[in-house]
């Protein structure tokens, strides 16, 4: 029982991270029809910025995290200016490869700036744990789940209740019609990249105390985020979050009970299976297929 609870809680907290990363590129996808393959590297950059703010600027952890997330919003906007804005009207393949190249550049640049050795980022709650059914659950896991829940609620309100969300949904449904109705495509694109950058930064600073600050932190989270988004149908926030939690729990359970050395394989195998059997995702997609 204690083993099951420990695996379940680990699964839910890593699943929350995957959800944050996935919500970032789903937001961009809704606004622009492009998938941002740099999303993972943005999360990595966020964790490095937090590490830099803590170790070099010697800020308090909470302030450092807020600074990192704020900077990541700007990085997201900058990424849009470089890789997406000049390529509007070109094939989406080209834009996707540009984001991929930008992601690689971020990772390589971080390797040069901070060396590729993994670093420790302290959790704002320290290393304390709480007991539950005999399992020790770190406070950091609880923090991850709580923050993710708040962000998801905020995003749902943003998408459903604000002018921004209404325009975003209009763009996702019919880009041409939305533009003819006066939706500012360029500004929406920039804003969506900014939000995605901030979400990635948040995912990075929450995940780094669990797995250490390393250059592949975000890339692995992004791959699992893809799996989550596909499982959830790519459109609905709720579907993506449920998909992410399923991926996280499935990964931990399979690694805990079947073969731990293949831990990273399970999410991808599940994802390919979903694409093979039910390409519209488990809950259907609200976005029509865009090429």
């Amino acid at each position: 029982m204690s083993r099951f609870v420990a695996l379940l809680s680990a699964g839910i907290s890593t699943g929350s991270i995957y959800a944050l990363v996935a919500l970032g590129f789903v937001t961009i996808y809704k606004a622009t029809g492009v998938i941002n393959f740099a999303q993972g590297d943005l999360a990595t950059l966020g964790s490095y910025l937090a590490f830099w703010a803590v170790s070099s600027l010697e800020l308090a952890t909470g302030v450092a995290y807020a600074l990192a997330i704020g900077l990541m919003f700007l990085v997201g906007v900058g990424l849009e200016r470089i890789t997406t804005a000049p390529l509007r009207g070109r094939s989406v393949h080209v834009v996707v490869i540009a984001t991929l190249g930008a992601g690689m550049a971020i990772r390589a640049g971080l390797g040069i700036w901070q060396s590729s050795r993994p670093k420790r980022l302290p959790s704002p709650l320290g290393i304390r744990t709480v007991g539950l059914f005999g399992a020790r659950i770190p406070y950091q896991s609880i923090l991850i789940v709580a923050v993710t829940a708040m962000v998801v609620v905020a995003l749902i309100l943003l998408f459903e209740r604000t002018q921004f969300g209404r325009q975003l949904r209009a763009l996702a449904t019919d880009t041409e019609a939305a533009r003819l109705q006066g939706v500012m495509v360029g500004r929406m694109s920039m804003l969506s990249f900014g939000i995605a950058g901030a979400l990635a930064g948040l995912a990075g600073v929450l995940f780094a105390p669990v797995v250490s600050v390393n250059l592949n932190l975000g890339f692995v989270a992004m791959l699992n985020g893809f799996a989550a988004a596909i499982l959830g149908g790519f459109g609905r926030i709720g579907g993506v979050v449920v998909g992410a939690l399923m991926i996280g729990v499935f990964e931990q359970m399979a690694a805990g009970y079947i073969a731990p050395q293949l831990r990273e394989v399970y999410p991808f195998a599940l994802m390919i299976l979903v694409i093979a059997v039910r390409p519209q995702g488990l809950f259907g997609s609200e976005i029509r297929a865009r090429h």
Binding site: L87, I97, L100, G103, F226, V265
Partner: protein
């Protein structure tokens, strides 16, 4: 299939299509002879073992990039799996050649890669563009973990020594110089296969499928089959190149087949130009030779490659081979 050529109408291909009539573009065997003759002069000028090892590496990558031209350039399939198929070829070769020798190993590598590619393509046949891309990304991650963990197939940590040089009739291609000629022969075989594909209806069917899948399907192009054939063929060529790479290097480890190689393969075909296979060859040469020229910037290598990829997409959408057409457009206007 109607007898008329379906002219591609995406902006990029339409522009290059108007500069060089397709009928001219496809007389490529002459170019194959010229390229091979030019490459054959390399040992005269650069005969050292080190220079030749660089040339050999370039040829292995060039073969893989030509395969990717079929997958991405000609049939527009956005696949990250090419590096993984390169690796599957290399590991299958190492496993089979260990007990059965070079030729059985080579054949096994090509067949195994083709089978995996076909099975995968069939499995995700209903996936749209992005889902296909993401599925291939998942496949390449799975392949990397299998290389590392399936130790009875590979070795501890996936690090395998491959002592198998090609032999023909008792003659061993055991030095860099001899291997160079063997690889050049393999490059010619690959190029001739691709030239034959480019002369066949498969070329125009692929282009039609890439640019207008619905129109192509309504005109009777079997788009699903074309997609399978091109993906399997291109990936099998990657497996072929991977086997040659393993034999030439004599040692393989999973790090050789990671995302880095996947990006480099994209860089090769995009930098060279997507509209014909020469772009793949030129791009491969560039990607291998550039770090040699920039050896004092070794730690910036990956950063330079990544920035180069973005810069190429932004500034040189048709790649290096597109420069000729661009130049022609400029001079005609003047």
């Amino acid at each position: 299939m109607p007898a008329t050529e379906i002219v591609p109408t995406t902006p990029e291909s339409a522009r290059s299509g108007s500069a060089v009539p397709p009928a001219h573009r496809r007389h490529q065997l002459r170019t194959v002879v010229l390229v091979v003759a030019a490459l054959g002069l390399i040992p005269l000028r650069y005969g050292g073992d080190y220079d030749l090892s660089i040339a050999n590496l370039t040829i292995s990558y060039a073969i893989a990039a030509i395969g990717f031209y079929l997958v991405f350039g000609l049939s527009g399939q956005f696949a990250f799996s090419h590096a993984a198929f390169f690796g599957i070829g290399a590991y299958t070769f190492a496993w089979a050649a260990h007990s059965r020798g070079f030729w059985i190993g080579l054949v096994a590598a090509v067949i195994a890669t083709a089978l995996v590619a076909l099975a995968f393509a069939w499995l995700v046949r209903r996936a749209s563009h992005f889902y296909f891309a993401i599925a291939t990304l998942g496949l390449s991650e799975i392949a990397l973990i299998i290389f590392r963990e399936w130790t009875s197939f590979t070795a501890i940590g996936g690090e395998v020594a491959v002592p198998n040089d090609p032999t023909v009739d008792g003659f061993r291609f055991d030095s860099e110089f001899r291997m160079f000629w063997f690889l050049l022969g393999a490059l010619v075989v690959t190029m001739v296969i691709v030239v034959l594909i480019e002369r066949s209806p498969l070329r125009r069917e692929s282009i039609a499928m890439r640019d207008h899948p619905e129109v192509a399907a309504s005109l009777g192009v079997p788009i699903q089959r074309v997609r399978f054939v091109m993906f399997t063929l291109g990936s099998a060529i990657a497996g072929f190149a991977g086997a040659l790479f393993a034999s030439d290097q004599g040692f393989i480890s999973p790090t050789s087949f990671g995302v880095g190689l996947g990006i480099n393969i994209f860089l090769m075909v995009i930098l060279g130009g997507l509209t014909n296979m020469w772009g793949a060859v030129i791009g491969a040469t560039f990607v291998v030779l550039l770090p040699e020229r920039l050896r004092s910037f070794a730690e910036y290598r990956e950063l330079i490659f990544a920035l180069l990829l973005v810069a190429t997409i932004l500034a040189l959408p048709e790649g290096i081979t597109g420069l000729r057409q661009a130049w022609r457009r400029i001079t005609r206007r003047a």
